[in-house]
């Protein structure tokens, strides 16, 4: 069985012009300087990929990377300045909040309006109406004007209409985060059902887990260009690496400011570098990964202003949500570390690290003899963990399942 392409994106570019003046007076007054008042930037630059029928694609990237713009171009809401998008079949889009509801009309009237916009005929809507209302779970408010709806109710109704419009391609932009948990579950079930029925889904999300969970492939955008495309886990790791740089930069900037503030007293000890020195394996695509269960050496390089004795080291492994999933301290381990004259490398070996698949970073601190922190580095040495892909979560285990009679 061959799968036809349902979306072909061919070198799509989109330019935005930001006018700083909107009124006639301002434009006339500034006519000669209108160039200065119009800023141009490329929201998308020669983006291209194809989506086959039944395939689910995750779109990820930092804020302002062009994800939503790309979704709008696919949906036909924006016209690209260059390139072309071709689609096959019916497209339904759930962009930001709502899907084109009129605030003064009731939920019922908006269902008819919205479903017609999505391409259903009146008879089809009549047939689907009860099912739409039931799925949305807001039957009590169906005859209330939607301006009185909460944002959650809005999304419920919008999602419900969109999934009932029998789309071949469903574009979803971050909307699901607004619904409560039971509704989100319901949506995810529906999305799985859609996948099973061979519909294609393009999902924009900031949640790596959601994309890994739902999508077959992921596209990572940065400043309007594709920086990674392919298998979800690898693509998401690429995204995290690009985030990591940004986070490091922010932290360094913040620390630089503090340094100026207490620049009076010199730092006794500073951490110059943190890296995983041993234990990573380079994949074919250049990405360095830890194979779950392997041993790693984390190297911490320090510079001291005067010889240092009786110090300690703290090391945490953190998820990208800043949850610490492992922590160690040389003081608690009652280790006595040798003195450091000027510079030194402290290596922490972590044998048989059974981490689950995903991306992690380290949080490292050096303390003095009294246990007071002298320097700390957060979010360093981003590390990608790979394993057999059979289990999920932060811990890797090899479960066995046995079935037998209930013990008496």
């Amino acid at each position: 069985m061959q799968r036809p392409d349902v979306i072909q994106i061919d070198k799509v570019s989109k330019k935005f012009t930001v006018h700083k003046d909107k009124s006639l007076k301002e434009r006339i007054v500034n006519a000669s300087r209108s160039r200065e008042h119009a800023e141009e930037y490329w929201a998308l630059k020669e983006v291209g990929f194809t989506v086959a029928a039944g395939e689910s694609i995750g779109l990820a990237g930092a804020n302002g990377s062009g994800k939503s713009t790309l979704l709008k171009v696919i949906g036909g809401i924006l016209t690209p300045n260059g390139g072309e998008v071709r689609t096959r079949g019916r497209v339904a889009a759930l962009l930001e909040l709502g899907a084109g509801f009129h605030p003064d009309l009731t939920g019922r009237e908006n269902i008819y309006l919205n479903a017609s916009v999505l391409g259903l005929t009146e008879e089809e809507i009549d047939k689907q109406f009860d099912s739409i209302v039931e799925f949305s779970g807001i039957a009590d408010f169906i005859d209330t004007q939607v301006k009185f709806y909460s944002s959650g109710m809005y999304v419920r109704l919008a999602f419900s209409v969109a999934v009932h419009s029998d789309p071949d391609i469903l574009l979803v932009d971050e909307v699901l985060a607004v619904g409560d948990e039971p509704f989100q579950r319901k949506c995810m079930e529906k999305i799985r059902e859609f996948q099973n029925e061979g519909r294609s889904i393009i999902l924009v999300s900031h949640s790596a887990e959601q994309i890994i969970d739902v999508c077959d492939r992921a596209v990572v955008l940065s400043q309007g260009r594709i920086i990674a495309i392919g298998e979800v886990r690898d693509a998401m790791s690429r995204l995290h690496q690009s985030y990591e740089k940004q986070i490091r930069q922010d932290i360094d900037d913040a620390e630089a400011k503090i340094e100026i503030l207490d620049g009076a007293h010199e730092r006794l000890c500073s951490i110059t570098n943190v890296e995983v020195a041993e234990g990573l394996i380079q994949q074919a695509d250049g990405l360095k990964v830890l194979i779950s269960g392997d041993t790693i050496d984390v190297a911490v390089d320090v510079v001291v202003s005067s010889p240092l004795e009786g110090y300690g080291i703290l090391l945490d492994i953190e998820t990208l949500k800043d949850e610490s999933i492992f922590g160690m301290s040389s003081r608690r381990l009652q280790l006595k570390l040798p003195p450091i004259e000027h510079t030194g490398r402290i290596t922490v070996r972590l044998p048989h690290l059974d981490l689950g698949e995903g991306d992690y970073s380290f949080n490292v601190a050096v303390t003095n003899a009294a246990g007071v922190e002298m320097d700390r580095k957060r979010h360093c040495a981003l590390m990608t963990v790979r394993s057999d892909g059979m289990t999920s979560g932060y811990v890797k285990a090899f479960p066995e399942v046995l079935v037998g009679p209930v013990p008496a």
Binding site: Q2, L24, A53, T79, V85, H102, D104, Q145, N196, E197
Partner: protein, 309 residues
């Protein structure tokens, strides 16, 4: 291009969908077409969405009077109050009645024609901005919005027309021949020119919000350039010929006179511009050409709507 299927299980429903999708052609979405080459496509696109147009037209009416007690009656109250003021102030107090017999019918005929034009233009102008919620979320031919505004203006017009017909019958009666000859033609002229202005103004209003205030001013001027509270005879008597020629280029003036010719029985012997019927036909032909051009300009401008709103 097609992709080899991977080894994962594919349901029968999915296979069926793949097969039916494979039969369908790839369709280019929202493309950059030339000024003329995209015309056929965008026109057929609008035609395919006629059902939606009707829904939006009804919504426009419904939403407008949603929270009001009198609801639809308001569309009649405004023109009736206008009629009363013009009838009393201009007809009785300023004495226009002496020169224009059955002044009430005369005023209401011209006013009905003008109101169709002015509501079409005024409500079209704001229509795209008012529907920004839809424009930003889903694709549909955006011409639908000014057209739906035109549709709802037309429905308002129909109820006024009904009052005009009943009023004329009661006061002096109606002659069928001029009615059939002039009224539908004048109506078409107004609609075509109203849509032309509506398309251009609704699109430019997205980029420049001053347009809607400009339109308000323009419509006041337009009102006085259309003979509804004064008669064409008053212009013809006092203005130099070149100014009269200029005056008769105004399609709303021609259409208003078409309405008066159709309903105002006592004005059969009044002064009318020469070849009124031919002028109306010409206005219609020119209007249709301009409407086509306006649609093409609209199509150009609508490409950046979603980011400008």
């Amino acid at each position: 291009m097609t992709n080899e299927d991977d080894s994962t299980e594919v349901s029968a429903a999915a296979l069926e969908r793949f097969a039916s999708l494979a039969d369908r052609p790839l369709r280019t979405v929202a493309t950059n077409t030339g000024f003329l080459s995209g015309a056929a496509r965008s026109l057929s696109d609008i035609w395919e969405h006629r059902h939606l147009w009707w829904l939006l037209t009804r919504r426009e009416l419904k939403a407008r009077y949603k929270d009001s007690v009198l609801g639809y009656v308001w569309t009649l109250i405004r023109p009736l109050v206008n009629l009363m003021i013009y009838y009393l102030a201009i007809g009785k107090i300023l004495g226009a009645e002496r020169a224009i017999p059955d002044f009430a019918v005369y005023v209401f005929a011209g006013l009905t024609a003008w109101t169709l034009f002015s509501t079409t233009v005024a409500s079209s102008t704001g229509s795209v901005v008012a529907n920004s919620g839809i424009v930003k979320k889903v694709y549909l031919p955006r011409e639908i919005f000014p057209l739906a505004a035109t549709g709802s203006a037309f429905i308002d017009f129909l109820s006024q027309l009904a009052i005009l017909v009943v009023g004329s019958l009661l006061i002096r009666g109606i002659a069928p021949e001029p009615l059939v000859m002039y009224v539908p033609l004048s109506m078409l002229v107004i609609l075509v020119w109203g849509i032309t202005f509506g398309l251009i103004l609704s699109a430019t209003n997205v980029y420049l919000r001053d347009i809607q205030y400009l339109v308000e001013v323009g419509l006041i001027i337009g009102f006085w350039m259309t003979p509804s509270v004064y008669s064409y005879a008053m212009i013809a008597d006092s203005a130099p010929p070149w100014l009269i020629d200029l005056y008769l280029l105004n399609p709303t003036a021609l259409a208003a006179m078409g309405f008066q010719k159709g309903f105002w029985l006592s004005g059969a012997d009044a002064v009318w511009p020469p070849h009124l019927f031919t002028r109306l036909v010409l206005a219609l032909v020119v209007g249709v050409v301009l409407m086509f051009i306006a649609q093409r300009i609209f199509d150009r401008l609508q490409r950046n709507f979603a980011q400008e709103l």
